[in-house]
Symmetry: C3
Subunit: 632 residues, 3 copies
């Protein structure tokens, strides 16, 4: 596998006179890839049907002439202003019923078929012109689907499509009524045209209604993307990519990814720690300028799964950003560390966002590799260093297969939002907590999609918190030879979002019934025998095979090779429970110091120190923010 | 008085094949009452004018055949979907101007006369069919009026009715302008048609405007209910009941209750503690799985007043619920304890909600007496035990008359919301704090309505925080022979919500003038001589009869037999002030340990231990979550 | 300069029979000024075109006969109900798109030209009638512009005017696109009619768009006010005044003030401390009943600048108010202290709000000099005492010129809101923190407008946090002979709200480049060498002239006479940095005890003790809440 460095560039933002110098400086820094054009629709088609792509031709030529490979983007995340005149109903509508209008970006409803046609038109225009261009070596569709909470829209357009989607799924309103249990509060429908979107109800709507709406909304993203990939496939052999987000679960990335060749994501470690991570204040302050030590790895492993092995970081944070609640600057070394960590987890390309900080408009406070005055920002030297280091290290067959696997299921994330049972509950967070527990034990992890039909030869597989198991996965779990840890809430719902009978988890070979569940406020936890606690969630299990008990003598983990977890473990409980599981699985573990992580590739073991200060571990001292590469 | 156990049942949720077995199991458990039908309108009348009550006939027959008495409900809390097509303007509108649409329950505006007519029609249909049915032994109107904040609606329909209501009350816009003081900010109206609802104003609307709107909204609930009771009275002699809520003050329950025979309420101790109680985190965690030790008693006493002596618990929490911020499971013993506490306070029936946990729709995470798989949930054995215990104990002439009385006034709750003067101010809370103070002293309490014309022979009567005293109550207070404790804010407003002259409290025989008031943030309190503090609220009193001073020498309690309280007392101050008042009143008090409470019936003294662990008091040890019954 | 006491009075609220007695009591108390009529439009013009000013004539006569001078107000803050029938689109619209209707006050959109015409009409009516009236000695336009967040409106009317405003400013949409950088996300406009207001966008709108909208909204206030001043000037020679607010930065007060003769503001120390001040809980509790010791002084100095030397307190808090989150009562002495502090800072008049507490409508819980029952409230005696004291002290040539100056710029306040980069960032707060730092050193401060062309002979001048420096101020800064302290963020934007090149601050004679900026959460601060911290904001500076470093060795203050501050200093850092700057400037400082402040007039040094308890400083003991006047 060849690793390379890239950068995001906006020729339309800069005078044409400096393009060539920019390209030369990129090449000089060792940058191989440059992504362009994803917000430039108003320059490509200033009026409907009037195209101007000459400037883009010249940009491609200039960059290509410097030896750079181009990622060409469809510009559909930013429809021009005239599009809204053409389609006044194309804007999404928020849960309060307010249209989300023009003036920033992502101002469109995925379900609007008229807009999809215009997207097809501009995609075809670009595909025809650049599909065979020798410099255009990859394509990106749109930009950051779902960003700014745009997957779900409560528009009239979405309503019409949702009714059709329901009609196709259920065929009759009576079937829908039965599936949703609409008898419950006289919610029965006589026609699909009576069904509304599940917002602005007096109290919570039927969770089955909400779940179908979430599935529908996710499908719209996949359909929207496929319109573009179908066209691109007809004109190019270059790989098709989308740049996904961190912490984004509103659509099924596996479904979108099925139509693409490579997954990529936009990695902003400092911004995400500030905005998204649930952690103690002490942890957040300790990692304020480094980012969380597990967050990037989790996404790397997730998107490697979404890309079926092929993935990039399309946007890598180079300095302070503009969009988090607070925006600290990374410590020196971190832009290099983040890139190396991505490569260790198998990334083909790490592309910094952006080349030069734009002095105008919404992101003017977002750092680039260059300052607005074209002087180098600190990250330029680090990117240059990484480019040199990867060249020096040479080929590597990619990241090593993980010792443990975790199944990740987007529909379960919607389910946890639909029926949390407790404030601040999140599927994302419980999976991440378990991932962190494995990583602190030095275990490399692979992520698997929910429709996986086999758990392979993983000695340890986790299927936490997954509301509905497909039959294929159920079979894989019960057939697996290694240790499988499931629960809590795993298999707790039918596909129609009802409680199944027999009661969950109802897995062959596992003597376990969830008799009762409870959610707990932050200051109430359940102490476990041997240390650690369950937090937020606890299930009363009936089982004859108790592996671990709570201090009160209730089952905490039950089963044998297939085992069930009765609650949401805190860090100490994760350590305890996952150590036991790893031992049972025959995995050698190594408890890592706080903030130190490692990942194996097929040829190397690479260490990352997420602490500002040096760490010594087993005789090896690694600098603060440092990377250490060992040959295996 | 005969005590009995009941249950809520939804035959329409289950296959008809299992009804008989369900009925047999209920009877076997000692259950005497079963409530049915309150959400089944879409099954009773699937299309407008097309009725199907055969299934309900069969359900009544099946349950009745097992010896169960039925509470038949009108289904008007859940109008079917076709009703919204018939009356598109029937939905309530929230304070932000958004219609609260179909898809859950309570999707109607109390002020919509067209919908009232349809409610009359379905009520008549049921009344005609079951009014004389021997198994139907009680009726419930609608379900949980006001639940999900549905009393107040800002709809066009409400506006039309509000203008009429104002025109009837004031007769001329000039009279309204004078009463409201509309000269204040040039808010004068020339016509009733110029008056809007008091939402979406630039800053706060006139409090007199708000108060009239609150009175109007409360009246709509009473009128809505009376439409149904008028019809039911013509067809049945069975008692008419409504199931009120906990912590619900948005309408005048005494006014609604006047048209009913029995009050009932829906008691969810664990959910309420999590969602509604203002208390320290330590208290909430200590009682996490028991509920607050005074909350249920307060409501029991309140609804005994609303029911003029006759009251039920219509829905008793059996296990974890689904709707609170967090939903812990009750400790073993609590479902029994709660039932016994209700009986001690005079309940005729305690009815558990619900028979079997529904696996579908909004409440699928709400426990029942049975699990979704029909196995017994833990509460079934406790309900069975209670049924046996009450049978064994036999008849009892009802709860004993309280030693102290508290006047409770819904209009004052609206007044505190309309003019709080401080964040987190609540009439409900200050009354409850004083109630708790009495209960910790072992004092049994009766609640009195605001239009009470005499305070009876209560040795101690409290009239706290009641903004406007009717003349009858004023007379009763000044004529009372026992100790009366009033204030703060008592009688501080005219009926038109203005400050009266002479200044409050202006009570004959009480030398007291409120010269100035202030509200205080949480960390600023006023220390009292001898311990305790005022919190949130303090009044500067002018009086020659000072009974208690603040540490700064200001009056804290003034008067003699009729005494005035200058602030909102914390727990220690309540203990101090109420002990003094009880001593003056000749009431023997007994400070109870934390979490231990007792209530006298006419034949027994019953003790309740709201602590998870045993408590020993005066040589008597009561188990954690235990009940102890002594013969008097 | 003659100092006098005034009061706000509403004859229309009281029976005409008591006007004369009220006037006599005012005169007896030493009150010289009485403000009337600002909310009385519905009484002046009960129907459109039907005027009734006879009652106002009689009120003027009655008050004038008692020797009182009248401030006559235009009543345009409270248009009568019929106005909304005439102009249904006159109401402002909030950011969520909801009209802000009739029912309180300030229910109008500044941009509505039809309403402006009606305001002109009623202003002319009053001006013609009272312009030469010997008792009417001053005029107030409207009341508290911007109160209740009314400057910015998202109405259709505002949209039309905004497009015209943009067309006048930019002449072509292409020029606007270039200025705003609309190429960024394909946000380019082909016509001014395509531009929307910057609310309800999918994510943040272009900050240049927001800033122009803020400038537009500010201009509407100035235009609205000028309609009235132009008319008044034609009929009266009395000074024209507006009563501004505390903490209000939504419009450019210097621009509005240019059309007026005297600035005034409404000073509510207790309410503001509760509602507006960012401070520790300990500080807020310590000053709960005194108000913040620097808040009033800051506004006094600011409004002295807005009034070009002439200013009043138009409304002075006399007791508890009704509108803050909590409303404590002032300690005895504070209503006197506040008045004296205003006089020390140069006020001509301090006018208490209000004469008698109104028993009805929105402000019934707002204290006056009289209670609702006409008995004296505590502040009456204090007002009377102040009146006597100022008479006794006699003439004084006004407040002394400050030793230090601070430039205050409203547009920068909008800029900080538009692009905070961190939660809770506020231009107001950082300027206030520096002001407090100077005041704790005993330094008297003058405030300067942003268009100042010279910094005069101030030994020390601060230009903190001002996003865009006009050329005149830039020249003044670089030409100044004293010490000038600028930064952070000073001169960080072009007039089009872009980052300039060369990078900021780009000031001649200052070797300083802001290489990178970061915002910080509350628990992350940057320690300074020698004590104190930067909080919230830190800039990495390039400079050869480092005056102060951080503990990590980064520049914290750089330059020489012209010096740049790299972050937001906390109290200790302010003390440290401002002491150094004062010493360099040759200003003698004196660190004052907590809560003790002083201000020099041209004849006296006046001390204010904002502590409840006495303070001894340099041998002088001042009572709690006390004032001490020394002759200079
Ligand atoms: Zn850490
Ligand atoms: Zn307790
Ligand atoms: Zn202080």
């Amino acid at each position: 596998m060849t690793r390379s460095i890239g950068v995001c560039y906006y020729p339309e933002h800069w005078p044409e006179e400096i393009w060539a110098e920019d390209a030369a400086r990129m090449a000089e820094a060792g940058i191989k890839w440059v992504r362009i054009a994803e917000f430039a629709w108003s320059r490509m088609e200033p009026e409907e049907g009037t195209y101007d792509l000459d400037w883009l031709d010249r940009a491609v030529d200039t960059l290509g002439a410097a030896g750079l490979k181009i990622v060409m983007c469809t510009p559909t995340a930013t429809p021009p202003r005239w599009m809204g005149t053409k389609h006044p109903d194309m804007y999404a509508v928020d849960a309060q019923g307010r249209p989300r209008g023009f003036g920033s970006r992502r101002h469109y409803d995925f379900a609007h078929h008229g807009y999809r046609e215009d997207c097809a038109r501009i995609t075809a225009k670009l595909a025809e012109r650049y599909g065979k261009n020798p410099h255009v070596a990859a394509w990106q569709t749109d930009n950051e689907y779902a960003c700014h909470d745009t997957t779900v829209s409560y528009s009239p357009v979405a309503l019409v499509q949702f009714r059709d989607w329901l009609a196709r799924k259920y065929q009759s309103p009576q079937a829908l009524n039965r599936a949703w249990g609409n008898v419950f509060w006289s919610m029965e429908y006589a026609s699909f045209d009576e069904i509304a979107l599940p917002n602005l109800t007096v109290t919570e709507p039927n969770p089955a209604h909400v779940m179908d709406f979430r599935r529908f909304a996710s499908d719209q993203v996949a359909e929207f993307n496929k319109v573009q990939t179908d066209i691109l496939r007809r004109h190019t052999d270059a790989p098709l990519i989308h740049n996904y987000m961190g912490f984004e679960i509103s659509f099924d990335h596996f479904k979108v990814g099925a139509d693409l060749d490579v997954a990529s994501w936009d990695s902003y470690p400092i911004g995400f720690l500030s905005q998204k991570v649930q952690a103690s204040d002490a942890h957040k302050i300790h990692h304020l300028r480094t980012g969380d030590p597990d967050l990037q790895g989790f996404h790397h492993d997730l998107y490697r799964a979404v890309g079926r092995g092929r993935w990039w970081v399309m946007e890598q944070q180079p300095g302070p950003v503009n969009w988090a609640p607070w925006n600290p600057a990374p410590l020196a070394g971190m832009p290099r560390l983040w890139a190396w960590e991505a490569f260790a987890h198998g990334a083909e390309v790490v592309s910094y966002f952006r080349w030069r900080q734009a002095p105008f408009a919404q992101e003017q406070m977002h750092a680039g590799l260059l300052r607005p005055d074209s002087a180098p920002a600190p990250a330029l030297a680090e990117a240059t260093q990484v480019a040199a280091e990867i060249a020096q290290l040479g080929e590597d067959a990619g990241c090593a297969k993980g010792q443990a696997a975790i199944v990740f299921d987007y529909a379960s994330a919607w389910a946890w939002e639909t029926q949390p049972q407790g404030r601040d509950f999140s599927y994302y967070q419980i999976v991440f907590d378990l991932y962190r527990g494995l990583r602190r034990l030095g275990i490399d992890v692979d992520i698997l999609p929910p429709d996986t039909g086999a758990l392979g030869d993983y000695k340890l597989a986790l299927v936490p918190a997954m509301f509905t198991l497909p039959d294929s996965l159920k079979a894989a779990i019960t057939a697996h030879e290694g240790i499988v840890l499931v629960g809590p809430r795993t298999n707790s719902k039918t596909p129609d979002f009802a409680i199944p009978t027999p009661l969950p988890p109802d897995l062959a070979g596992l003597d376990c019934t969830v008799a009762r569940v409870e959610s707990l406020p932050p200051s109430a936890t359940v102490s476990l025998h041997g240390g650690g606690h369950f937090k937020r969630w606890f299930e009363e299990l009936e089982s004859a095979d108790v592996l671990l008990k709570t201090e009160d003598g209730m089952p905490a983990v039950v089963g044998g090779n297939l085992r069930y977890l009765a609650g949401w473990p805190d860090d100490a409980a994760c350590h305890h429970i996952l150590s036991d599981a790893a031992k049972a699985a025959g995995i050698v573990t190594e408890t890592l110091p706080d903030g130190l992580r490692r990942r194996d590739t097929q040829g190397h073991r690479i260490w990352f120190n997420y602490n500002p200060a040096p760490v010594t571990h087993r005789g090896l001292t690694i600098d603060g923010c440092g990377v250490h590469i060992e040959k295996l």
